[in-house]
């Protein structure tokens, strides 16, 4: 596989495309598929076939177009996006190809949801066919890898990544360049590159979206990473609950192997790299690096104390690079445009963009990518489209079960690593769950504690027993049977878990509790002292004591 070959494929693809009079893109990522977008695709194909247009107009299955709330989504080459398309609309859509779009189906794109996004990770989502490598190559895919292999040394690659200021997108925000540099410098007989696709936060589906829409991007990022650190074997650890993403990855890997982009002597160089997929089996804790490694080793997914860090002693005791899906997805564009370009986006300490999934009580549920530093207010009311049915914004949960609930008074906070941490939350992987006045914050805290209790691996005492005790107290509060002594115990346990737990799960399990205790103390008080739930969610008959 050479740069010339890639250019050839791209040219061939572009020529084929230019001969078409039109292209109709139908989203075939999980969200729209659940609304039967595959039937819509078939209906469009039949409609074109009936008119003898199949040769001149293509119906393409593409990845996520972002605004899942309005799916199934269909777009045309002219840039029009149609919303909530059903099979009955196929005729009209085909009728209007090459003419003005179908007004009643049209989704306005001159709105903040689209205009405020800066698509880097998602630049191909909704445009390329995730199951055709040629489409990816035509969109400049694998040109970064080619450039790296022909023109750069591993340390130059690492320098570029360091210059970009990219920080781990899995949640911890650790400087990526530094991690790559550490792995590169560590000594071992065999190095590994792992992609953490275990996205376990309930309500977060950014990684799923990227993997279903543009899997080659992540693969390219991994290959570049392997080259930079000196690894020859890679794993993508993907959760079992993502069968479509897993399938698309398998297809993509096979295609990349066929074109000589994976395997031995990539690009005619001595560099060899192979990727295998490892499917998870339903354990949130396996999103933690050392637990993930244990799982790939075929063991129970229990974390181990760090140091030693995986960068030095990881999989099978060897230096291992572990990064999140989104982190790898940023690598090709950084190589193509340069680290300085990336560092020019975002804030002083949080460079680049971040993909977020907007869920919960918000009009525009879906996936968006914005520059770091966008304010929460913009996320809620402009990009998110506000709270539906005229209700009031109450809080936004960022970072999943490891994060905190941020109330209205902090809406002007910019979304970046440090600012969110200061509010007692975390950036996390990017899941944002919006809540309105119909949510009880104590109930929300209990929900997350239940999650942490169920997902706790059980190895360390603070998390294993502490989450149980905290859940018991939160249940008592929602059952209106708790006392102020219980509240004090809850706070003490929060402190204990945060400082003594073995891994991030236990250490951040108190975050939803602490943030709601701080910002919504009145609700706790109402439950305990007045036996009332201000949101009307909890009642004396609700719930069962743990």
């Amino acid at each position: 596989m050479t740069a010339e070959k890639l250019a050839q494929i791209a040219k061939g693809e572009q020529e084929t495309q230019s001969r078409l009079t039109d292209v109709v893109n139908v989203c075939v990522a999980s969200g729209c598929l659940a609304s039967k977008s595959d039937s819509v695709k078939q209906a469009l194909e039949s409609e074109l076939a009936d008119r003898g247009l199949s040769g001149r107009c293509q119906v393409k299955g593409v990845g996520c177009l972002g605004l899942c709330a309005k799916g199934p989504l269909v777009s045309t080459r002219s840039g029009a996006i149609y919303k909530k398309v059903n099979i009955g609309d196929a005729r009209e859509i085909v009728d209007h190809l090459g003419r003005e779009p179908v007004a009643r189906l049209l989704l306005p794109t001159d709105v903040p949801f689209f205009e405020k996004q800066t698509k880097i990770v998602l630049e191909n989502s909704g445009i390329v066919d995730p199951e055709r490598i040629e489409d990816y190559v035509a969109a400049d895919g694998y040109s970064a890898l080619s450039h790296v292999l022909q023109q750069m040394t591993p340390s130059q690659v690492i320098q570029e990544i360091t210059k970009s200021g990219l920080r781990g997108r899995g949640g911890a925000g650790y400087p990526t360049g530094l991690k790559w540099s550490t792995v590169a410098k560590s000594v071992g007989t065999q190095k590994y590159v792992i992609c953490n696709a275990d996205e376990g936060d309930p309500g977060a589906f950014m990684d799923r979206s990227v993997l279903e829409s543009d899997p080659h991007r992540v693969i390219e990022g991994m290959i570049i990473g392997a080259f930079a650190v000196g690894a020859s074997e890679g794993y993508i650890y993907i959760r079992a609950e993502y069968p479509l993403a897993t399938r698309r990855l398998r297809v993509a890997i096979a295609q990349a192997e066929q074109l000589g982009l994976l395997g031995a002597h990539i690009g005619g160089t001595p560099f060899t790299f192979r990727i295998q997929i490892r499917v998870g089996a339903g354990a949130y804790v396996c999103g933690e690096e050392t637990a993930l490694i244990a799982s790939i080793e075929g063991k129970r997914g229990t974390p181990r104390p760090r140091p030693p860090y995986p960068a030095m002693e990881g999989l099978l005791g060897q230096p291992t690079l572990i990064n999140n899906v989104e982190t790898y997805a940023n690598i090709p564009p950084i190589i193509r445009h340069g680290g300085a370009w990336y560092a020019g986006i975002g804030t002083e300490t949080s460079k680049g963009t971040k993909v977020f999934s907007l869920t919960g009580q918000i009009r525009n549920t879906g996936v968006v990518e914005v520059p770091m530093g966008v304010s929460l207010r913009e996320m809620v009311f402009e990009i998110g489209g506000g709270i539906p049915e005229g209700r009031q914004f109450k809080a936004v949960q960022t970072g999943g079960p490891s994060g905190g609930c941020i109330p209205a008074e902090f809406l002007d906070t910019p979304v970046d690593y440090e600012s969110l941490a200061k509010l007692g939350s975390i950036m996390g992987s990017g899941g944002m769950v919006f809540m309105d006045e119909s949510s009880c914050m104590v109930d929300v805290a209990k929900y997350f504690m239940d999650f942490c209790m169920t997902e706790s691996c059980g190895k360390c005492i603070p998390c294993r027993v502490g989450t149980y005790q905290m859940h018991r107290i939160l249940t008592a509060i929602t059952n209106m049977t708790a006392t102020s002594a219980d509240l004090k115990m809850l706070e003490e346990l929060c402190d204990l878990l945060k400082h003594t737990s073995l891994c991030g799960l236990g250490q951040s399990a108190p975050n939803p509790v602490v943030s709601t205790l701080r910002s919504f103390a009145a609700e706790y008080k109402a439950h305990i002292e007045e036996h009332k739930c201000p949101a009307g969610v909890c009642s004396k008959t609700m719930g069962v004591s743990a």
Partner: protein, 253 residues
Amino acid sequence: MSCWRMQQNDGSKRMSPVGGVKTLKIDGRDFSARPEETILEVACQNKIFIPRMCELEGLSTVGACRLCLVEVKGSNKLLPSCVTPVEEGMEVTTSSERLLNYRRMIVELLFSERNHICSVCVSNGHCELQTMAQKLGITHIHFPYRYPKERVDATHDRFVVDHNRCILCTRCVRVCDEIEGAHTWDVMGRGIGSHVVTDLNEPWGSSETCTGCGKCVHVCPTGALFEKGRSVAEMEKRRNFLPYLTMMRKGHE
């Protein structure tokens, strides 16, 4: 005595210098340490008490109980002394108001987790959990008891496992795997639903892999594993076999 994480890979080098003695301060006093020694090892050598439950000399360290956490100057995190290697110039505090509070809470959580009733237990008076509670000055348990219904498995002809008294320290798992080599014990489930099991969660008496060596019984810190024929307060554990076997094995290398 080296720690488990020091398995040498062929040709691998550590980033810290090998061969240099390190000096550090523990509780204001100066000590020296060999390379790769952990804070706990140095403390133990010098008779400084750091509480711990899952650690046992001769077995790999897992850093699970969190009792051995110490304060280290310059780090805002508490570090588990059983797995943390000594660094040159480190300043360690092994005991403070804060650490004592955390240790008490951890032990109290253990008491609340299962059914630890000393008065009827074979290990009464010889129990590490009991001794730890006394050492930490625990007088009563603040957390409500969970009262889980746990099993007692007396099918083995010589030993009994009483899950009411198990604190999931995993010493039994480790000794059976690392010293005896049978790996009869492991942990099933997760979180607070975890249990130690023999083979495929079968009665211990019908285990195909258990050699009946009794090592697990003697490394168990509480009365969870004990010998048949012992009555209340009669189960005294004998641990000398562990450093002895370790030493004998080293001799063969």
